[in-house]
Amino acid sequence: MGYVAVKGGTDAIHNSQELVEFYRLKDAVTPLDIKQIRSQLRLAVDKVIGEGGLYAPDYAAIALKQAEGEVFEAAFILRAFRTTLQRRYYSETINTREMFVKRKISASFREIPGGQILGPTRDYTQRILDTSKAVETPEDVEKFLKTFESKINRDKLQSIKTYAKVIDLLKEEGLLKRVDPNEDRSLADITREAIRFPAPRSARLQMMCRAETGGLMAMGYSSMRGFGSAHPTVGELRYGSLPVRIKDPSGRVRYAGKIEVTEAEMVSSVSVGKKKAIPKFTIGYGLCFGQNDTKVICMGILDTTMRSPDVNAPANDQEFVLYHTEGIESMGFTNHLKLPHYVDFQSGLNSIRAAMDRNTEKAPEQKQGEPTLLPL
């Protein structure tokens, strides 16, 4: 027997902390270098900075190492770290038309301004387990890089410019639905102010930007599959880097650095207002840190669905989507079930035993101190 007055809790925690560190290191292999994680686990790092809500790839790599590769946990560590930093500035509005494009595709048109650029994507790799990766050597890496670089025309690289967007084509033709003048366009900051419902679009996009990819995917997919009516087309999906600028106290706009983002503009058709109104196109928008196509596509779908509230379709319900795709919160609460609840449970027991007594369906009450009759 060991119980309440035992002060073993602290020891237990310390031992458990030590043990988990042992599990991380027990095979005594070479410790992972942060650079290796940042570089070779690039997409994991991207998820962590996105869901952690802090553009800090180095810190994200450390968090991934610390969390033994658990992305939820690493994102959580990064968010907690973020709390210790004061918000000093808001960046100037980022203009994604300035993007240095690394990938740019459209499903709506065969040809788009600047062409379709697949860029780095696993979309058309055959997902065959490549066992040669098991024996990859630094020499292999070097050899690959050498051959690859020899194929690059550096003169051409200089001439890469920015491209017009697909949605501009639609806009010029008057095919896009105008923004509803009654829409709440106030700018929220969900990191400084708890979200309130109905939330302005800015808050919805911010929430989704930090949301868990899998959660967004489940919601977005549900709407396409049948529990809703999303039927979008990828207007344009881009991945690339963007300059970030901030205004210093003297009012001068200064360049702060570059961030990598993925952006999606999802096109769906809607009928505006009354039943007989002419249908138009509307854009659902998605943007996140790093490269994550799935996330921005689902953001785009959900941006559209949440604009037409419908309690019968989970994806059209702001509160449902935004509260439940928040990964750090849902993970925390789900895991809190592991905490002791014996006080609340005792209270419930008390009520249920009394209710059974009232119904004369008396539960066999075991007297205090008597051993149980049930075989253990």
Binding site: V4, T10, R82, T83, E329, T334, V343, A354, L374
Partner: protein, 301 residues
Amino acid sequence: MVENKKYVNKYNFAFIDEATKKEIRRKLLKAVAIPGYQVPYSSPEMPISRGWGTGGLHVTLAVIGKADVFKIIDQGSDASVNACNLREFVHMMTNCKTTYDTTEATLIQTRHRIVEEELNENQIYIYQVPQPEPLRSVERYENKTRQMHGEADYAKMWVSLYESFVRHGDIMFGAGYPVKVNDRYVMAPSPIPKWDIPNINDSKALHLFGAGREKRLYAVPPYTKVEPLEFEDVKFHPEDFSSYECFKTGYNKAYLDELYFDDGSKHYVINDSNFLDKMVGHAPLNQHSNKYLDKLKHEQE
């Protein structure tokens, strides 16, 4: 390898940055000014999981000063693993003295219990709240529950209490029994047992509630009326331990835990670990008094 200097941790006193602490304090002042009203706040992420006491921690870290003495319990126990973990964190970030002794503490953070000993005017009692919205069981949408509070429209809540009575012969709420504060707001007291509910009423201490995941703060100022929801003919009642007793002390006018020993035998023990320690050590005890407990004591005499 990355240059180490870049990654040395330096944290502000009490972890949270000052601007955010100020924000939390302002929201707490609003909460105190409108007893029982849920004030939305920023709720920054803590290095503790959501749902594991982040709201309580925000409150603690926003109000703690260097001279404070900090006590934290979970399920009534100072030794519970989560309480130990949070105690270490608060200590690490503030270097404040920590204690198990209820009377010595100036700040007490709790999960799911109010200590058995009476609180005083110099103490702040901080609750970790999983679900701040008492109406969530009858209305799932946040914008609707806010409206219901605004209009003091608690009809659905009353109906649910009534239905519970009709179906089961009693109001079946266990932990987290809804209360009305200052004759105005219905409030979730956090999942404390019914045993503890009367001890918030007219308390000498300031009671602060933090729901981190749901991003709400609320408060019950000292000497405020807090009543459990009940009908004229169907009354609230605390848990009944009259037929059991603590196997260590023989006492049964405190909240008891049900234990099963290795041979499967059932025993009861006082839940509040400091209260139990003091009672076993014959230290002076000043238990809360409330009408239910007083009646119980009176009946036994």
